[in-house]
Symmetry: C2
Subunit: 342 residues, 2 copies
């Protein structure tokens, strides 16, 4: 019997389709073959091919926009939103528009073209996570921006147009709908219970254990109760924290270790799947300290989203989160989980 | 300068990325090559390969589950939800679940394996649209169901697992989130204005004309002001009507003509793109007669949805709806819009 499950934060129902239950090997991963075609604008020596760097971790005796860096932050050459200009919010009859003012940046995570984020050392992943914090903090000072969204597209199928390992961020003049839904849902829960819903979820998940992928002293990775996608994973602090930018250096290092571990488990279980991850954190403005709780959502791209999902916001997920979590707990990280399909 | 636009019904912002502006020929359509592999369970003569038919348009002297039909409705062999059983709605600590009770049906639109819906005559498309109405009406009598969602996946990329032209419907025991958002948004507007927001949109779009793809006496096709996707199209009645099931036979015929015309324009402009369409209509229960307005949403599958979109519910659309509408108005339907990429 399939099951309908409701996400307690945003109220979204999903179908967990047990009849169609799928194991990791049922997903035909296209993998992420190295393409290596032509000049890579993110490789050392090609700094001239990108907009000037915003900041970088680089050797002391090196100049901006030259080699010698280990992490580099630049503006996106083809930005979805542009930095200059006023918002000019206006109505057009029944409709609302404003200028596409914002920031769109790229965090090049490593100088090595052949390393994905899973191949990086924990200190280097921690540097990437630090960069997220620094940029959110900096962009949060611009009064035009309401939200800074950090995300990563890994693999062409997941939307990555360049294969050199990188994350992106977009600062937006509005709070995005999905984030607003989480803020509204968690506020409603807090108004009723006087507790953070994410803290309650962490507590319940740790008691049952069946959807826990892994944890450290302060952080946990779970497969959510009502996941939209097979092997969807959430990483969040076990302690209450609304805003990612309050994370300490020590905690960032610990979190980097858990995040690396989870990404390696996904890679091993699903044969190097394309995936996206996104950071949800409290918006720049507003009082969200009591009810919101930052987290990363990792979504492997394994299934096609079809008309039913677009039309309803109602997802059919062929793998239960209990199964996903067990596969990820039990997978051997060093060897591929299955033979590669030729 | 890119532009941020807000959908007035559900409050979703989208980025219309003028800098990245894309014309139809910029989308590398994978087309929908005929595969023709093995036995097709939807072809006449193979009726035994599907669950028994629920109903069919068939010649008077023929028996159910034999050839002689022109349209056939069956249960999905691999249903996302199942018909038997009680809902057993229950809490699991903080979480909510219920049994996956519902209906999942397939409407085989033609006996001809080589015809897509765009190849069908207007009367045959009208038969398909009649079948939607009949099934929604019938399933609406089951007190366990709150909503009946009709949708079509055309092409493998859009999620069609069988190429023989068909639509699907799923009856669900809850109102799906996306539909609920439209109901809530249109109710708010009605409470404030005492008018239907869809009627106001139709009025404004007909005045400006720049997002009108086509219209008949009673129906219109527009590209919405804040579309999530390039060439997204909405088809709706010009008169106020909350529920699709109230559509008269004469109106169905007229609507079928407009729908065929729009699907042919999309095929010609975008080189036979994969697409999804969904029908949004008022739920079975509740008083939505004044503020809601049924419509079809057609979404060609041209772009990849990446981390930013999943994480934010905030879409980046590289083609403005004004451009999309103009291309669709001007396209020659009989000739392909561009040379096929080898």
């Amino acid at each position: 019997m399939p099951e309908l499950r409701k996400d307690p934060i945003v109220g979204r129902w999903v179908i967990i389709s047990s009849e169609r239950s799928k194991r990791p090997s049922d997903f035909a991963s296209e993998g992420s073959a190295r393409r290596n075609q032509g000049l890579c604008p993110f490789c050392p020596g090609n700094e001239h091919a990108t907009p000037p760097e915003i900041s970088a971790d680089r050797a002391q005796d090196t100049s901006p926009d030259t080699p010698g860096w280990t992490l580099r932050i630049i503006s996106n050459k083809f930005p979805a939103l542009v930095a200059q200009g006023e918002l000019n919010r206006e109505g057009l009859g029944i409709f609302d528009r404003m200028n596409g003012v914002g920031a769109h940046e790229v965090i090049v995570e490593t100088p090595d073209h052949n390393h994905d984020i899973v191949d990086l050392s924990t200190p280097q992943v921690a540097r990437v996570l630090h960069a997220y914090k620094d940029r959110i903090t900096d962009l949060g000072r611009d009064p035009r921006f309401r939200y800074v969204m950090v995300f990563k597209n890994q693999g062409e199928v997941a939307g990555a147009s360049l294969e050199h390992s990188h994350s992106q961020l977009i600062a937006t003049p509005v709070v995005p709908k999905r984030v607003q839904e989480e803020l509204d849902g968690s506020r409603k829960y807090f108004d009723y219970k006087e507790r953070c819903i994410f803290c309650d979820i962490v507590r319940q998940e740790r008691e049952s254990g069946e959807r826990v992928v892994g944890e450290t002293e302060n952080f946990i990775c779970i497969t959510p109760f009502a996941p939209r996608f097979p092997f969807e994973c959430w990483l969040l602090p076990r302690f209450h924290a609304a805003s990612y930018v309050d994370l300490s250096g020590e905690h960032i290092h610990e979190f980097a270790g858990l995040m690396s571990d989870v990404l390696r488990r996904l890679k091993a279980a699903l044969d190097n799947p394309p995936y996206n991850y996104v950071l949800h954190t409290a918006p720049v403005l507003g009082d969200h300290g009591q009810h919101y709780h930052w987290h990363f959502e990792i979504i492997p791209k394994l299934t096609k989203v079809a008309g039913f999902e677009w039309g309803t916001g109602f997802y059919i997920n062929p793998t239960s989160p209990e199964h996903s979590a067990r596969y990820l707990r039990e997978v051997t990280q060093t060897a591929p989980a299955r033979e590669r399909v030729a």
